[in-house]
């Protein structure tokens, strides 16, 4: 029993990490109408930023978190400005291919600068806590708490602020929003900034679990988070959170059962197939009504 509960908590915390990344995917999809396949690599850049601070400069992990968030936010804005904004209005396939190009560019840059060998990024030395006879890793609780706060904060920003309204307006009708005085370019840049900051946090939390990074550090979490976003209904923010949690919990359960653990990734991805068969638009996705 205690094992199940600790697996659930680990799953929720891993799910929170997926949710943070999925939020970036889903917001960018909803507002800029593009799939940013370089999103996973932002996580990787964040982890290397942390590596520079704690691994190379032996500085405080708190500083590393701060620097990672700042670097990723700036990178998100930069990538949008240089790679995606010139393609505004281009066919979505061109933008998609550009995103894949940006992804390879970031991975290759990391490989040139830091080498292909994985490096250690020692963050905090986490202990276990004992809650009612169940031993739980502290990092799981921290991750879970931070993810919950961030998601609530994000929903608040979107529902209750001017920037949030601008985001919804741009996502619904970019042309009309522009004509009503909404700065579409700025709104999309802010979306990328927020998504990238969340990705940096996700990268840090991943380092809590295993303190090693490499140029492909972001690839698998990126793909899984994309799956989470699709399961939840891409474009929907609560959907991304739900999709992330489902994925995280299922993955942790699969890993905890000895004969299933080798297939954990396969199980995770098969959820996608099942969900898409039953609800092609995802759990909270809007049904597309064809106008005749």
């Amino acid at each position: 029993m205690s094992e199940i509960i600790s697996t659930i908590i680990n799953g929720l915390s891993q799910g929170g990490v997926y949710a943070l990344i999925a939020l970036g995917y889903t917001m960018v999809y909803g507002i800029a109408k593009m799939l940013n396949f370089a999103h996973g690599d932002i996580i990787m850049v964040g982890s290397y930023a942390a590596f520079v601070v704690v691994g190379m400069m032996s500085s405080s992990p708190f500083l590393a978190i701060f620097i990672a968030v700042v670097v990723c936010t700036a990178l998100g804005i930069l990538v949008e400005r240089l790679a995606y904004r010139p393609l505004r209005g281009a066919p979505s396939l061109s933008v998609l291919i550009t995103a894949i190009g940006v992804s390879y560019l970031l991975q290759s840059l990391a490989q040139i600068i830091f080498g292909a060998t994985p490096v250690m990024v020692p963050m905090f030395d986490f202990k276990f806590v004992d809650i009612g006879g169940i031993s739980i890793k502290i990092q799981s609780l921290i991750t879970l708490a931070v993810c919950a706060v961030v998601i609530v904060l994000l929903l608040f920003v979107i529902k209750k602020t001017k920037v949030g309204r601008a985001m919804v307006a741009v996502s619904e009708d970019r042309g009309a929003a522009q004509l009503m005085g909404v700065n579409v370019n700025r709104t999309i840049a802010i979306t990328f900034a927020i998504g990238s900051a969340l990705a940096a946090l996700a990268g840090i939390f991943s380092l809590f679990v295993s303190p090693v990074t490499s140029p492909t550090f972001g690839a698998l979490p990126g793909i899984k988070a994309f799956v989470a976003a699709v399961i939840g209904g891409i474009g929907s923010i609560p959907g991304a959170a739900i999709g992330g949690i489902i994925l995280g919990v299922v993955e942790q359960f699969a890993l905890s059962v000895p004969f299933l653990s080798p297939y954990a990734d396969a199980i995770v991805f098969s959820i996608l197939i099942v969900v898409l068969l039953v609800r092609p638009t995802g759990i909270l996705g809007k049904k597309q009504r064809e106008k005749v």
Binding site: K162, A177, Q178, V184
Partner: protein, 308 residues
């Protein structure tokens, strides 16, 4: 007797002896002088044109506005002059290029030739966002509200430019953010009250009845504080009662918000009921322009609408 033309200088002075610009007065004086023998023969013609409302400044001026899509001249050499507080109609058969004119005036299309000015400021080639900030707002032929936002939030989006509040203050300086949110909310409520929509402020825009959605689009456009409001077929899909109400609303909006209105419309009752001046477009070119009732009775206009 020999009659030769003589040159004369004509100058009209007012009672204080200052020269008068006759064009400004709607008058034109032509003097022809002939020398006959030892005397002069003067032929003086004074033309007086109907007085124009020159007291009001020009809000929108377009000169030779043209746009070409491939080989098609969608709009060709459009001249417009709309004065402050005017209700101006742009009419014409389907495909005449009316909405294309709106799309040029709001920066969606860049004119191939020609320029347009808002209160004397050249806005040709500016982006839709810049043009909106300069003071042109519009509604759409097919309603384009933000459906998943509430009625109030739709108007607040329109206020985005008007209430100072940056991303950083939204994120970090909460008190200031809260204050500007409060101001925006109050102003949005006020606009909705004026437009008679306040009781619906918490409805989702998509749940409003059709006529109210049209009104909300006008309210949202007004929230951007325009000098010139462009209405694209505001009466489309309305029954006669709703159209009547709409006419009152448009007149009311002009008075209340001190805004100049240019509207595209097919409903002739609405056009002849509220527009002071008209421009009729046909195949992208001006067919007629001027006083509404005079223009509507011109044979070429009747022909364009009804066929031969």
């Amino acid at each position: 007797m020999k009659k030769t033309k003589a040159s004369v200088r004509t100058e009209v002075l007012d009672k204080y002896g200052r020269p008068v610009d006759l064009k400004e007065e709607g008058m034109d004086v032509q003097v022809e002088a002939y020398r006959i023998g030892g005397g002069f023969d003067l032929d003086i013609k004074i033309k007086k044109e109907p007085p124009k409302k020159h007291d009001r400044p020009i809000v929108l001026k377009a000169t030779g506005l043209s746009i070409q899509f491939g080989g098609l001249k969608a709009v060709d050499g459009l001249d417009l002059e709309i004065r402050e507080g005017e209700l101006y109609g742009l009419i014409g058969p389907n495909g005449a290029g009316k909405t294309t004119v709106f799309n040029m005036l709001t920066g969606i299309y860049k004119p191939t030739f020609g320029r347009f000015f808002l209160c004397g400021k050249d806005l040709t080639g500016k982006t839709p966002l810049e043009i909106n900030r300069e003071g042109i707002a519009r509604t759409f032929q097919n309603i384009r509200l933000f459906n998943s936002l509430t009625v109030l939030e739709n108007v607040m989006v329109g206020l985005n430019n008007q209430v100072p509040c940056t991303v950083w203050s939204s994120m970090f300086r909460l008190p200031r953010h809260m204050k500007s949110e409060k101001i925006a909310r109050e102003r949005a409520h006020e606009i909705l009250r004026i437009m008679g929509l306040d009781e619906y402020s918490d409805y989702l825009a998509q749940n409003l009845p059709y006529g109210k959605q049209r009104k909300l689009e006008i309210a949202r456009a007004l929230a951007t504080n325009p000098k010139l409001l462009l209405l694209d077929e505001p009466a489309a899909g309305m029954n006669p009662n709703e159209t009547q109400e709409l006419m009152d609303t448009i007149r009311f909006v002009r008075e209340k918000f001190k805004v100049t209105i240019l509207l595209i419309e097919h409903d002739m009752k609405l056009v002849s009921g509220i527009c002071e001046n008209l421009t009729v477009l046909n195949f992208g070119q001006i067919l007629a322009s001027g006083d509404t009732h005079e223009v509507l009775n011109r044979p070429e206009v009747v022909k364009a609408y009804l066929g031969d």
